[in-house]
């Protein structure tokens, strides 16, 4: 049954024809002493971009990095070749140091390693990292897969760190899974949400 109002089809064939919002929550995962968090379903051609939101990601180990990698085989392997850029700003609570700098030690050049999206996170009880990562058109079999991330973190030595990373997964295979982990130790706590973005 279709529902048509003033000549406009509101719904038909089991779905709404009008927009109900462009940001659609697809999956929520909550860490609890987790070695990693992976999204191995729903990354497909339904949406042409996906956003991951990080809410208070808290590491078990002090002074480590939060990282991600991609998979083209639904999570059997996280080893997609990437070329990336990373820069950051920092400012300490003592107001003795500021910085805006490119991070030559945290970018990748045709590497299958995990990509750092926040470094040096503290594990004090109130320390964590929050932010977002957008992955563009992962199901393309024509183009490389671009990503852009921006996170803010609480550094182990009481700095605020703002990380900007971007780049591409240098593959024309469809990316269909993503994994997040710490460079050492577990993700002690925190939430990662995956959204599909309609019509982006």
């Amino acid at each position: 049954m279709a529902f048509i109002s003033s000549g406009t089809t509101i719904l038909d064939n089991g779905a709404f024809s009008v927009g109900l919002g462009g940001l659609v929550l697809l999956s929520t995962q909550t860490a609890s002493a987790s070695a990693s968090i992976s999204f191995t379903s729903s990354i497909d051609s339904t949406y042409d971009s996906y956003m991951f939101k990080f809410i208070n990601i808290h590491p078990a180990t002090d002074d480590i990095a939060f990282q991600f990698n991609l998979s083209t085989d639904a999570g059997s392997n996280y080893n997609v070749t990437k070329t990336t850029t990373v820069f950051r700003t920092i400012h300490n609570e003592a107001d003795t140091e500021t910085e805006l700098s490119y991070r030559t030690t945290e970018d990748l050049a045709q590497s299958t390693a995990f990509q750092t999206i926040m470094g040096f996170i503290g594990n004090d009880a109130d320390q964590s990292v929050s932010g977002s990562l957008t992955l563009f058109n992962p199901s393309s079999t024509v183009f490389v897969k671009h990503f852009i991330a921006n996170l803010n973190g609480y550094h182990s030595s009481n700095y605020t760190f703002n990380y900007f990373s971007a780049g591409y997964a240098n593959t024309t295979s469809a990316v269909n899974a993503i994994q997040f982990k710490m460079s050492s130790g577990n993700i002690d706590a925190g939430t990662i949400k995956m959204y599909g973005i309609k019509g982006s």
Binding site: F3, I55, L100, L151
Partner: protein, 200 residues
């Protein structure tokens, strides 16, 4: 009455069916400035959402070169004086070519300060000048973690250049934040709209 289309229930019992994919960016409040000393959001910031987005549409100051300032409250808006540590950097280009810069904004950041934080910077008060921006506030109701925020703004600056400003940091409190205030560094918010969204 239920609305069923193509064998799929879309509406029933006064609400959309739970299986209908709906938007996750929920408009909670819109405030429009009209020679306003400040605009404050004192309700709707709670544990319903684990992140909030504020959008700033054509913020126009009464005083030339004024900055739009932010502060937070943990007591429902009685006091806006939460301790913050932040980073700032910017890029600009003058209408007269060759006047460009990318750099850290020393003096515009905060280190363990309860003062208002500058966000949209140096807005011109000519009739056609204004500033826009987006600010993300993560998990304000947490009683465990500091409260991260990330923002970016674009300004038609008072000296006739385009300025792109970045702000990030944390409100260094484990008390829940339940109100946010925006005001100019001098004069009023002559005109403009601020919208607050919750993100599911």
């Amino acid at each position: 009455m239920a609305v069923v289309s193509g064998g799929t229930t879309l509406i029933d019992n006064g609400a959309l069916d739970a299986g209908v994919p709906t938007g996750s960016l929920i408009l909670l409040s819109t405030q429009t400035a009209s020679s306003s000393a400040s605009l404050s959001f004192t309700s709707g910031i709670d544990s319903t959402y684990d992140s909030y987005v504020f959008k700033f549409i054509d913020i126009h100051p009464s005083a030339d070169g004024a900055n739009l300032m932010i502060n937070f409250s943990t007591d429902g808006g009685s006091n806006y004086n939460v301790t913050k540590t932040t980073t700032r950097f910017y890029a600009y280009n003058g209408e007269t070519s060759g006047f460009t810069l990318l750099g850290y904004l020393t003096g515009a950041d905060l280190a363990q300060s309860t003062a208002d934080q500058e966000f949209i910077r140096g807005i011109g008060s000519d009739n056609d000048q204004a500033g826009v921006g987006i600010l993300h506030l993560f998990n304000p109701s947490s009683t465990t973690y500091v409260k991260h925020f990330i923002g970016r703004s674009s300004t038609a600056q008072s000296s006739d250049y385009a300025e792109d400003d970045y702000l990030a940091g944390y409100a260094n409190t484990i008390s829940a934040i339940n109100a946010v205030r925006f005001q100019m560094s001098s004069g009023n918010i002559d005109d403009g709209i601020i919208k607050m969204y919750g993100v599911k």
